[in-house]
Symmetry: C2
Subunit: 81 residues, 2 copies
């Protein structure tokens, strides 16, 4: 089973990396096109779980313990085959 | 219009961050559950494009020029709204 975890900074938290990328895109000629850039992490886990429910529960624990800093980040989990 | 760009290391390229995370998950008690971890970036762009086709073309240019290192990374683009 496979889990895709997207971790992004909460709304309102300064996104340095996103700001720098936005600025770089502006200087590369995309000033008119780009309104906002935000950068997060995508974590792809290969799991030995027997059911989607079990996988979801385990990955939620992993997010709370390690994968996300829940003070400043939100995460969402997608479980696929 | 919104574009979501997922950038991940190509298969075969050593994923240090993924390896370290895998190890950390093992020591936290997920040794039986986790088979593999890979970590990539998720870039969320807010765009001023008038059509999906235009947005797709612009974001492809951004990926080739800045957002991905195409020697070692793959990217995929999803346009929404």
């Amino acid at each position: 089973m496979k889990a895709i975890v997207n971790v992004a900074l909460k709304q309102g938290v300064l996104d340095d990396q996103g700001k720098a990328t936005h600025h770089a895109l502006d200087t590369l000629g995309f000033k008119e096109v780009v309104k906002d850039v935000r950068i997060g992490k995508q974590i792809i886990l290969e799991l030995n779980s027997s059911s989607k429910e079990e996988a979801q529960a385990e990955v939620t624990k992993m997010c709370e313990k390690l994968l996300a800093n829940t003070v400043i980040e939100d995460y969402n989990i997608t479980i696929t085959e």
